[in-house]
């Protein structure tokens, strides 16, 4: 056996036993749907290796899914791969159909969004489907049409969404991977920044009656921290299942997050990945046309989105060379102040500290855990990207250490 083979053989997570899967489930309880998705992910690791999915195979599956839902034949044309995003396989196509009633003649541009065998963000298509329904008319987001929750028609679970117009990156700064540190420039920024805050406030103050549409989400109890602990366990479980090597700082952080989990005063719908690069806009008018990537949505504490959107990783310096623009929009102070005004909800410095550490822990779980595991196991359509993104890990770990030290003091 070579040294490399010995190293690989020492990794119990690559082909996990039932006992390992169950021990992690028992140690770190999470929301019901998260548990189901993560368990499926682990079981899938013992299955056949990932094979590149061809566009015709994907489109044929989409056609079957749509026909099963509509009850009549449709045709699909102009199919092609869609770039962008680090986690899901996406294709755009034109659906030639007769509408839901079967009496129209329509050609509708749509997007098929499906999972690879593993991804940087292992998530539920069911939850993504539900949250898009729940935010319809409140925050611009893709229309969700059909779901193949159990991969009956597609190679892996997927959803069919409406196609949304707009660009994710301005033409002047279009080479950023996944929109990290995206600079929109002063002119666009002035138009985008107020909308960035406006939609965050709208999302966080959504009518709680809409939560009834979120049947696969656990609804937190105000005044309790039980849901927060489950969300910390979501990251911990990801880390336990995916990491290639341990990192003691992650253990210190986990203990701190559990011990200091704050109660939720107001239950908000949390996007979970609210930042620059995750919305489309019209470059001419500067209007935000769509918010993307809802797969990390949860019901929880607004400070989670607030701290995520203001992480240094997603910001850049303004033209003055000193002001750090959160998500390329405005300074943190300005953003929090504008948010309080728009939402009527207070921004609590103690919970900002907590969720700042929470989000750094989350990013590290995704980058150094899931992303590394997905590329190591050759399980995605873009392993080269998921592997590349692991290089973000150590700087984030350094920032986590700084935040943790401040919090402990």
């Amino acid at each position: 056996m070579t040294a490399l083979e010995r190293l690989k053989a020492s990794d119990s997570r690559e082909q996990p036993s039932d006992a390992l899967i169950e021990s992690i489930r028992a140690a770190y309880p999470t929301e019901r749907e998260v548990d189901a998705v993560f368990t499926r992910k682990m079981q899938r690791r013992n299955g056949p290796p990932f094979q590149q999915i061809t566009l015709p195979r994907l489109i044929d599956g989409a056609r079957q899914l749509i026909e099963a839902n509509l009850g009549y034949s449709v045709t699909i044309s102009e199919a092609k791969w869609l770039s962008g995003g680090a986690s899901k396989l996406q294709a755009v196509f034109v659906l030639n159909w007769r509408g839901f009633e079967g009496n129209a003649s329509l050609a509708t541009k749509m997007v098929l969004r499906t999972e690879p065998a593993a991804s940087i963000t292992e998530s539920s298509r069911r939850r993504e489907f539900e949250v898009l329904k729940a935010v319809a008319g409140i925050v611009p987001a893709p229309e969700s049409y059909w779901i193949d929750e159990d991969a009956t028609y597609l190679p892996y679970p997927g959803i069919v969404l409406g196609f949304c117009k707009g660009v994710a990156k301005p033409s002047l700064d279009a080479d950023k991977v996944s929109g990290l540190g995206q600079n929109y420039g002063p002119e666009l920024r002035n138009k985008l920044a107020p909308q960035f805050v406006h939609y965050l406030a709208k999302l966080h103050t959504i009518d709680p009656q809409r939560f009834a549409m979120l049947t696969s989400f656990d609804v937190p109890t105000p005044g309790s921290n039980e849901a927060v602990i489950k969300q910390v366990n979501y990251i911990r479980r990801m880390w336990e299942e995916d990491r290639l090597e341990d990192e003691p700082i992650m253990e210190v952080t986990y203990k701190w997050l559990i011990k200091h989990a704050p109660v939720i005063d107001h239950v908000s719908l949390i996007h979970g990945d609210y930042r620059n690069g995750n919305f489309l806009f019209d470059e001419q008018s500067g209007e935000i046309t769509t918010w993307l990537d809802w797969e990390g949505a949860v019901l929880g504490d607004r400070h989670r989105d607030l701290t995520y959107a203001t992480m240094d990783t997603f910001g850049h310096l303004a033209e003055d060379g000193t002001t750090r623009l959160a998500s390329g929009m405005m300074s943190k102070t300005e953003l929090f102040s504008a948010y309080e005004k728009a939402s009527g909800l207070k921004v609590d410095p103690v919970r900002l500290t907590y969720y700042n550490i929470y989000n750094r822990y989350l990013l590290l779980g995704l980058i150094m855990g899931s992303s590394a595991r997905a590329s190591y196991g050759a399980r995605t359509h873009q392993d080269v990207l998921t592997n590349y993104l692991t290089a973000l890990g150590y700087q984030n770990l350094s920032e986590l250490c700084d935040s943790l030290k401040e919090a402990i003091q």
Binding site: A3, G84, L180, E245, K255
Partner: protein, 176 residues
Amino acid sequence: MIQTFDTQLEVSLRALQDVVAPALSGAENHVLEQFNLALATLSFLRQRLPYARGYHRLELQHFMDCSAAVRNLIAADQPELATQMKTTESLGSQELVRPEAEIEDYLLVARKLRELINDSVKMANGKPYEAELDAFVCRQQQAFLPAQRAWCAPLGLDTEADKLPSIDDVLSRSGN
């Protein structure tokens, strides 16, 4: 041996950059993105390959030192774990003097030590020495982060890469 790794990587990179890249103009965005990331990855490999042995020896030494210090803090309360740590540190010492040891041998022991240090932090939950241990582990790990960040710097994602030491400095200071 004519076929050095550096030559193999150099010729591949030149072919991709000088011949393949120009032919890809007009290709779909996701094709161009993956092509450029593959180039960046190969280029990283070429830059770091000459340092790989030294770096992995340095990393192993770091975890051996960290483990020894942690062991002193926990030995009275967690004797079994402390014994495992000591045994693994010894294994690390043996690998560092074994001429034929490969970088995966260093990684294997370093990963075991990472787990054991992690276990010590986990098992310290609620114990009187917990705060001291947690703070110590954070300090130790943070002290090693500049080396880890310097290693990854050629991939171009560290926004403070200009403030990091060069990999030559990292390794020469440690004697690796």
